[in-house]
Amino acid sequence: MKMLINVAESVVADALRGMAAAHPELTVDVENRVVVRRDAPVAGKVGLVSGGGSGHEPLHGGFVGPGMLSAACPGEVFTSPVPDQMVRAAAAVDSGAGVLFIVKNYTGDVLNFDMAAELAEDEGIQIAKVLVDDDVAVTDSLYTAGRRGTGATLFVEKIAGAAAEEGQPLEQVEALARQVNEHSRSFGVALSACTTPAKGSPTFDLPAGELELGVGIHGEPGRERRAMMTSREIADFSVNAILDDMSPRNPVLLLVNGMGATPLLELYGFNAEVQRVLTERGVAVARTLVGNYVTSLDMAGASVTLCQVDEELLRLYDAPVRTPGLRWGV
């Protein structure tokens, strides 16, 4: 397996050094692994801190900037960051208005952010937390660690980020973040396994003629493996899986997300099929985002996320954002 790296141990630090060089509008603490918007803390503004394993770029560091995250904590590849990083990030962005931790539902992320919240509160920082768990591929939460947090993370961070930018108080930013998560559902498929630098070979074995339906963002499976399907069939399966779980009455935000190794040519084609089936099912699409936003290293495949929005959520989604990975209205 060929990768554009030096050694596996320095992959995250090397990426952060390169990110710092590309984005002088961010403060990148390579040693402590915290990415902070340069003007933080912004007086009177709630801080938004997110984080998780590396390997999902541009999530999360790529979403730091005005209108979205105040700071992000990248962990090792596919490994939750440690509480020290989160506390450091919270301290860097807290202006006294409190900090919202945006946590994806994975055991490691939950445990480390819980510990970080306790430590940050000991330092006098007011902390609220929102758990993102949008993945409908996980059907039986009683016998698993619960629904995983995937594509909805982008919508939660964007909309809560806009509210915080307006100066809304912590309770309100937290409530909005929760609302976005509750109104979001995702489903992903993998056409190939991903390769972590530490292992150097694919993390699971997916034969050439098969795909994995309901895949998570670490390549972990969800539902079943089948013979390869067409873009049209995958769109039908994915959207139907989501609509079996939610019946949006309002228009939706649509994210057609690449897992890292699927080109835009395929993603746009897939988007056409997703839009077709949504139209057939009577779901109106208010905004569409197509691209690699919540990736799994070099995995081929895509995920679909729908977020049901009212006028207020749509207004906040449309608000200006200026980050490496998401930028409009500025």
Binding site: F78, S80, T107, M115, Y143, A198, T203, H218, E220, P221
Partner: protein
């Protein structure tokens, strides 16, 4: 009686064992997890060894609390908080005595394991580190060697189980047939304890 030096040697022996077995732990974590258990624990226990040398805590409790805090600060994932809590809570239960008996260590370790179960929400049979730790603590009343055997048997016994906690839980039935990496590393921790208590009997 066991003093601070005994606990330091236990941690150092664990670090050496994790270093040796890191690739095996990562290989076990590959089909059912995300292929990082060995490298994460290796990083954490290397940091534990370093901090124990630097700060030289002088009671058994202080050794474990410091080691646990270091794991929380360096490992990440679920293993960091879970192993960190295990050692921290065991250390806290030992208090500030300069020496502790084997029975006291057994009681403290049980408190540590209980804290891990509360934090992670896992029970025996969920295919986690608990499946090695609970039988080990039960057997510790008999001897360190018995605890080692019980932990290793507990780790092996996770193979036919379906995971209900952690990332392997998403595999459902496909997690069956793979030994749990967390239970495997927990057995290394207990084996290192047995080897520290009786260096001649064990070849850890």
């Amino acid at each position: 009686m066991l003093d601070a030096d005994f606990f330091r040697r236990w941690m150092t022996a664990t670090a050496a064992s994790v270093e040796r077995e890191a690739e095996r732990l990562t290989a076990l974590d590959s089909p059912i997890g995300d292929a990082d258990h060995g490298s994460n624990l290796r990083r954490g226990f290397a940091a534990v060894t370093a901090v124990l040398e630097k700060e030289a805590p002088d009671t058994p409790g202080a050794v474990l609390v410091l080691a646990g805090r270091q794991l929380i600060s360096t490992v990440g994932g679920a293993s960091g908080p879970l192993y960190g809590t295990l050692l921290r809570r065991t250390g806290k239960a030992l208090g500030d005595a300069a020496e502790v008996s084997e029975a006291q260590l057994g009681d403290a370790l049980r408190a540590g394991v209980d804290a891990v179960m509360t934090l992670g929400g896992a029970a025996p049979g969920d295919k986690t580190m608990i499946d090695a730790l609970v039988p080990a603590v039960d057997a510790l009343a008999e001897s360190f060697a018995a605890a080692r055997v019980a932990a290793e048997e507990g780790a092996s016994a996770t193979t036919p189980l379906q995971a209900r906690k952690g990332r392997a839980s998403y595999l459902g039935e496909r997690s069956i047939g793979h030994q749990d990496p967390g239970a495997t590393s927990a057995a290394l921790l207990i084996a290192a304890l047995a080897a520290t208590a009786d260096p001649e009997a064990a070849d850890v």
